[in-house]
């Protein structure tokens, strides 16, 4: 991910890296692609494109380092540069606003409606997945990277090309939005905001 000094691999080594270090991540990659595009064919194209690029630039990858993060970064860039441009999906989030929000004094103010563990446990259908999908793409992305894929903040910062502080604030905001959505579902399932 850092511009590592260019490696030199034999064809055999390239194939080994591809099969043993890149391909095992295909399920995560496909899930990421699908949750970015919501379309199976677009997700397949994104993943295929990512793997082709990964092979083409394999000598910028240092064997044994973080292949998953490296691949995710390629996919994210393909999504922004190729897919988003093609579909002209406007970026709806004003980050200036997000940052200001996070740095404001009342950040600990309880802004999410009361949501309870019991009501979450009763969401046995697609509610969780739908709530995630309802978020704007940049908020969705940090949740996917952190909560679904278990990336560390530092890895996320590199994948997304943003400072760690921004990773944290974006994640914080994303989770609040997710909770708002989940409490909407909880309400429609008949839970009342019973404060103890």
């Amino acid at each position: 991910m850092e511009e590592a000094p260019k490696q030199s691999y034999s064809d055999q080594e390239k194939n080994d890296i591809f099969n043993n270090e890149f391909l095992p991540h295909i399920k995560s990659m496909y899930n990421f692609g699908f949750r970015l595009t919501f379309d199976q064919d677009d997700a397949k194209d994104l993943v295929q494109d990512t793997y082709l690029k990964a092979y083409r630039f394999i000598e910028s990858f240092q064997k044994g380092t973080n292949a998953k993060a490296w691949l995710f970064r390629i996919l994210k860039n393909s999504f922004i540069n190729d897919y988003r441009k093609k579909t002209k999906e406007p970026s709806k989030v004003d980050y200036q606003e997000v940052e200001t929000y996070y740095n404001s004094e009342d950040v600990d103010r309880q802004i999410t409606p009361d949501l309870r563990v019991e009501s979450l446990k009763d969401m046995i259908g697609d509610e969780i997945s739908n709530a995630l999908n309802s978020l704007d793409v940049d908020f969705r992305t940090v949740i996917i990277l952190c909560d679904l894929e278990g990336f560390k903040y530092e890895e996320m910062a590199k994948i997304l090309d943003i400072p760690i502080g921004t990773v944290r604030s974006r994640l914080h905001r994303a989770r609040n939005l997710l909770k708002e959505k989940l409490s909407e579902y909880a309400k429609s399932m008949g839970y009342k905001n019973t404060e103890l």
Binding site: F18, L23, I26, K27, S28, Y30, N31, F34, R35, Q40, K44, V47, Q48, Y51, L52, Y55, R56, V107, D108, Q110, L115, R116, V117, L120, K121, M123, D126, I128, S129, L132, I143, I144, C146, D147, L148, K152, Y153, R168, L171, H172, R175, L178, K179, L182
Partner: protein, 89 residues
């Protein structure tokens, strides 16, 4: 007895909020020292106590409910075919 120093305090003296501390704990980004401090803090901070359970549950649910989609069977083969085609050029 003096109160133990809050290990979450940043180098510049900024004291993080409850939610900021909780986030580090939740995401496994807290040091051992910070974890000990937060555990004690949670015992007398109701918002943290409540949020901890809720946020942990959401994180677990996301992981179990949103990672299950299987990859289309033909995808790996298509990728491999495409690569060998490109190599032949």
């Amino acid at each position: 007895m003096t109160k133990p120093l809050n290990p979450f305090i940043l180098a510049d003296g900024t004291k993080p909020s409850c939610m900021e501390m909780l986030q580090l704990i939740l995401d496994g980004e807290a040091t051992a020292e910070q974890q000990v401090y937060f555990k004690a803090h949670m015992d007398h901070c109701l918002p943290c106590f409540k949020s901890y359970d809720l946020d942990t549950t959401i994180k677990e649910l996301l992981k179990t409910r949103c990672c299950g989609d299987s990859v289309p069977n033909e995808l790996v083969d298509q990728i491999k075919t495409q690569i060998s085609k490109n190599l032949a050029l």
